[in-house]
């Protein structure tokens, strides 16, 4: 789906969202309020420029528009892969972006992330997975690594990985796996204003300072060891 | 991965700790955990190893160790990533030393 189609479907009441390279930023109207729209498009590789571009805009929202909800649109193939990026501590810029999303939450901004295309590794960690709730469109590709590359790195036969992926959500790519493990709140067949507004609803968003993803993973049956282990550490 | 289970008779160990762990599950290395077992004059050994087909060697190495050291009354668990027999013997001695407080 094209970005403009997604924006039109999410915000029929209007939007002013610009693209700056692969960074997207602007505002949009829901039936009840103005929201900020931020994110990336065309499977962006997140480097310093995009990370700092998003981080700076989040700080502007926090300082200039207290309480304004933030909608993140996620389409990233991961972090930028280059020596120049690493030389200036790319992990530091991604951490900075993550801290800005976290600050917005603490300052009372509800945030929702929607994976519209790809969501991979470091790019996904830095903002998509930092939102209060993360959703994905049905055709979204959420992964760390595809199974062929994983077979190469782990030296486990590709056929074996494919076979195991059928019974375990733990390692294979796919939005439904992230849903059952608690990292995604829901998968949307198509973007609609109703779905987005219900996700942004303050009553739904209440109490989001608590990270409830491992509890969700346990309830959905996709990830039970994590919650169990945390409880054991707390009780030890 | 191969799972191996052995049982050896041995003189009883005198534990100084509730359990002892030695080594790391890294390439060419292994970890060994010694805990109290159910029989005072026997040692049970449970091995998970990345290298298949070395059951006989494991059995010989540990049987030799159990014949020379008091490891009775223990339950030994090993997670192995291709340790050589020399490393296995060294880890067994270290773990037993920690378990018995270095007394034996």
């Amino acid at each position: 789906m094209k970005l403009i189609e997604i924006l039109n479907a999410l915000f029929p009441a209007g939007h002013e969202v610009g693209t700056f390279g692969q960074l997207i930023a602007g505002t949009a109207q829901t039936s009840s309020s103005t929201v900020a729209v931020l994110g990336t498009t065309d499977a962006a590789a997140i480097g310093h420029d995009i990370a700092l571009g998003l981080a700076g805009r989040i700080l502007d929202i926090v300082d200039q528009h207290p309480g304004r909800p933030i909608v993140f649109l996620v389409d990233t193939k991961g972090q930028a892969l280059s020596r120049a990026e690493e030389l200036l501590c790319l992990n530091g810029s991604l951490a900075h972006l993550a801290r800005c999303v976290d600050l917005a939450r603490r300052q009372g901004h509800v945030s929702v992330a929607l994976v519209t295309g790809e969501a991979v590794s470091g790019g996904f960690l830095s903002f998509g997975l930092m939102a209060d709730k993360t959703y994905a469109l049905a055709d979204a590709q959420v992964r760390v690594m595809d199974l062929k590359a994983m077979a190469r790195v782990t030296k486990i036969a590709h056929e074996r990985l494919v076979e195991l992926a059928g019974s375990s959500p733990t390692f294979a790519p796919g939005a439904e796996n992230y849903l059952s493990m608690g990292a995604l709140e829901a998968i949307w067949d198509a973007p609609t204003a109703a779905l987005l507004e219900s996700a942004l609803d303050q009553r739904v968003a209440k109490g989001l300072l608590v990270d409830g993803r491992m509890d969700a993973g346990r309830e959905r049956g996709g990830r039970s060891l994590a919650a169990q282990t945390v409880a054991a550490v707390l009780a030890a | 991965m191969e799972n191996l289970e052995f049982r050896f008779t041995a003189h009883p160990a005198r534990p100084a700790a509730g359990a002892a762990l030695c080594g790391v599950v890294g390439s060419g290395n292994m970890e060994i955990l010694i805990r109290p077992g159910d029989e005072a004059d026997a040692c049970t050994v449970s091995i998970k190893t990345s290298a298949r087909g070395f059951g006989k060697i494991w059995e010989a190495v540990i049987a030799d160790f159990a014949s020379r050291h008091p490891v009775g009354g223990t339950r030994i668990a090993i997670n192995d990533m291709g340790a050589t027999p020399a490393v296995v013997t060294l880890r067994l001695a270290q773990a037993l030393g920690d378990y018995t407080g270095g007394a034996q």
């Binding site: 310093h48 700092l52 981080a55 700076g56 700080l59 926090v62 972090q79 892969l81 280059s82 020596r83 990026e85 030389l87 501590c89 992990n91 951490a95 900075h96 801290r99 976290d102 600050l103 603490r106 590794s121 470091g122 996904f124 960690l125 997975l129 690594m145 994983m150 782990t154 486990i156 195991l164 375990s168 959500p169 733990t170 390692f171 992230y178 493990m181 608690g182 990292a183 300072l209 990270d211 993803r213 491992m214 990830r223 060891l225 994590a226 919650a227 282990t229 945390v230 409880a231 550490v233 707390l234 | 359990a19 762990l21 790391v24 599950v25 970890e31 998970k48 990345s50 997670n79 990533m81």
Partner: protein
Amino acid sequence: MNAPVHTQLALRHSYFEASARSRVAQLLDAGSFREFLPPEVSQPSPHLAVLGIPGAFDDGVIVGSGQLGGKPVLLIAQEGQFMGGAVGEIHGAKIVGLLRRAIVERPAAVVFMVDSGGVRLHEANAGLIAISEIMRAVLDTRAAGVPVIALVGGSCGAFGGMGIVSRLCSAIVMSEEGRLALSGPEVIETVAGVEEFDSKDRALVWRVTGGKHRYLTGDCAELVEDDAASFRQSTIDLLAGLTEPAPGSSALRTEQKRLTQRRERFAGMRDGLEVWAAMGMARPAEVSLMDRDSLVAAKKGLPA
């Protein structure tokens, strides 16, 4: 062979070569460590067993409490020799649990001995989600007023999501041998070619990701010798002065400005040598030969 057997014989205990358990013993006040979920009550990762790989009882990370310079701390130590210190479901959850415990217990700090390549590919989704949970838990712990100090000096460095996590901590203590980055040089070489990043050129890897470079550019707070006692002393010193202000936009604006200006100042550079020269180091080629104290002194002498 396990390194500690050898290093115990030496006066100096290499932090780089040590196992996580010996690092813990050498960092904390003697005899003060208490492990949560010790090996004898733990099970190796079932996700690895399914793939036919022997797990470790502690799943490659040790968590517990102890005293450091007489102050109570909670502690996390990743074992780089087991699966590259990578984060799987249990491994990650032990870290999250420890950080959440810190919010309740309020120790003087959480000491996080990072030694990890990031996500454990064998448990890729669980690992990625766990790292996201660790990221939020670190920030929650800091927001509750408990500093989190990362120590980076192990053989696997701090890469991938653990590189991000390290930079979310209150401060990083690094040795020259430590490495801190996002993508590993091998990954960049595989995807972008050996001309982009020759992962076998160790000197280059250290000039891009190593402790001295990160110290000069302000991405780690302290540089220490590759020695357990130095990590211990530096962490004790940090503990004395570290406070956690309530999260606010002014600190992040300062960081935004620093990162943005740096991006402009060092644009197009691909080697630490270029950056150090641009910073005003008189003889950048000598940085790799300088000992820790000389480098710290040289940094103090740089123009602002």
